[in-house]
């Protein structure tokens, strides 16, 4: 088991507000780790520190052994190797699906148009989105948009995928199609860090679950233990609330 993402004693402040408090977490190659926790506990921030959308203040984060702020990554190496997908898709509304997903390969990584288009067709086909290459995002359902966003993140063949509540904005009947894709990626061996409120999904897809509270990882372990026999009273309280709202 080789570590893919190593988060070591990472601390992050927004101004004077402590958002991550000496967080340590390791995600091994081909492993899927789900982050759960209340709103505002720092899940998104932790995820964004990994691909440096947010710069952490103390500690180190390594991707495949190299610190994410290491000059060896150059300007765009990290973004090439760690893809991220957001809750609200964040597709570019003025670009077609094809333009959206070939933008980074062509403009950032210098891939030719023909090559990028070929790769795009391949990825879209894999997610059942072939035939939508010329569509604009607003013409697609939420589930379709999110599939395009996942395709966009996968274009550079990243080593890890960071998913931030990617089904939270979807109508209930569309959640399944997106989760099926994530499951497929897991089966193909993708390393993933997933922030989710879909406890059922976390339970049967995650190799490990980490519970964040007030910027600290209070508890971490296999899903059966975290969901079945949580040790921390706060984890238990959080899960009880989730169960009460019918989401487990």
């Amino acid at each position: 088991m080789t570590p893919m993402i190593e988060i070591d004693e990472v601390t992050k402040y927004f101004g004077t507000k402590l958002v991550l408090d000496r967080v340590s977490l390791t995600v091994n190659r081909h492993e899927v780790v789900c982050l759960i926790g209340a709103s505002g506990s720092g899940k998104s921030t932790l995820l964004r520190c990994v691909n440096r959308l947010v710069a952490h203040d103390y500690g180190t984060i390594r991707l495949d052994g190299v610190p994410v702020d290491d000059p060896r990554f150059g300007k765009t190496g990290l973004q090439k190797r760690a893809g991220i997908v957001f809750q609200s898709y964040n597709l570019f509304p003025h670009m077609t699906v094809l333009e959206n997903i070939t933008l980074a390969p062509r403009r950032v990584h210098g891939v030719s148009r023909a090559e990028a288009t070929a790769r795009a067709q391949e990825v879209l086909a894999r997610f059942g989105m072939d035939g939508f290459a010329q569509a604009y995002p607003e013409q697609l359902s939420g589930g379709q948009q999110q599939r395009v966003a996942i395709a966009r993140a996968l274009m550079t063949k990243p080593d890890v995928l960071l998913l931030d509540e990617i089904t939270a904005a979807l109508d209930p009947e569309l959640v399944g199609e997106v989760l099926a894709i994530i499951r497929g990626l897991k089966d193909a061996g993708m390393t993933m860090m997933i922030v989710t409120h879909e406890m059922g999904f976390a339970r049967d897809c995650a190799d490990r679950v980490a519970f964040l509270s007030d910027g600290m990882i209070l508890e971490e372990g296999p899903p059966d233990r975290i969901f079945g026999a949580p040790e921390q009273p706060r984890t238990r309280a959080f899960l009880d609330r989730i169960i009460a709202s019918g989401r487990l």
């Binding site: 973004q79 570019f92 933008l103 950032v108």
Partner: protein, 294 residues
Amino acid sequence: MTTAHPAKAGGQDPARRGPPPPPPKRGFDWRAAALPTAIGLASFISVFGGLALYVTSAEQWPRIKLQFFNLDAMIAAFPRVLQGFWVNIQVWLTVLVCILVWALVLAIVRSLRAPWFAPFRLMVVIYIDIFRGVPVLLLVLLFGFGIPALNLPGLPNSGLFWGSVAMVLSYAAYVAEIYRSGIDAVHEGQRAAAKSLGLSEWQTLRYAILPQALRNVVPALMNIVVALQKDVALLSVIGVRDAVREAQIYTASTFNYSSLIVAAGLFLLATIPMARLADYLTRRDRMRRLQIAA
């Protein structure tokens, strides 16, 4: 025409028969509009008719009418005023292009967030504050009379040129702020997405932010375009022979003011279609937003 739908127990039977056709689109209903139209017309006529009666009843009206609405004088002045108006159009288009480009540069510099750009950002802020704070007319006078008088070697010496520069500098300050509001209105998630894909700050602006921002500000820009078309006439104060200037020259030589009415007519002819277009674009933009929000 409403017919009752007998619902079966447990819901409708979709195969029963087709749904009723969509209701016919209601056109403009003249009968419903007749009364309000009549009232509107009546009040319009009574207000302006009353005003017209009042004005024309003035003792001096026949003389004023001869001086301002003299058809012969209008016809005589028309060629020269039109020629001047052609200058307005040329200046307007040239200045407009310069404003749109220069303002874009200002807005881009102001929106770059890299620490390296901080001094440039500050300079843009100061620039905008200064040029928005001084009346355009004053700038036109200062530039149009002041700079040619300096006789700077290697620089053009015409009032037209420097007056136009003053217009560009002043208007660009406003337009830069319009651009900036458009840039700020683009959702933060778009920047996050672009950055996470490895786009540099410039690429993020170029490919992700600006196309959306520019689309957002088209209606606001249209209003600037209309305002600028009229403000080009300010150049007449430094002697540029635009429509207003030509009309004044005619007035000075004949003591007849009908040429001014001709100039006013030409401006209306040019601005009214643009104002309608601006309205149309604004409406279309609102519809688009509503659709996206729905």
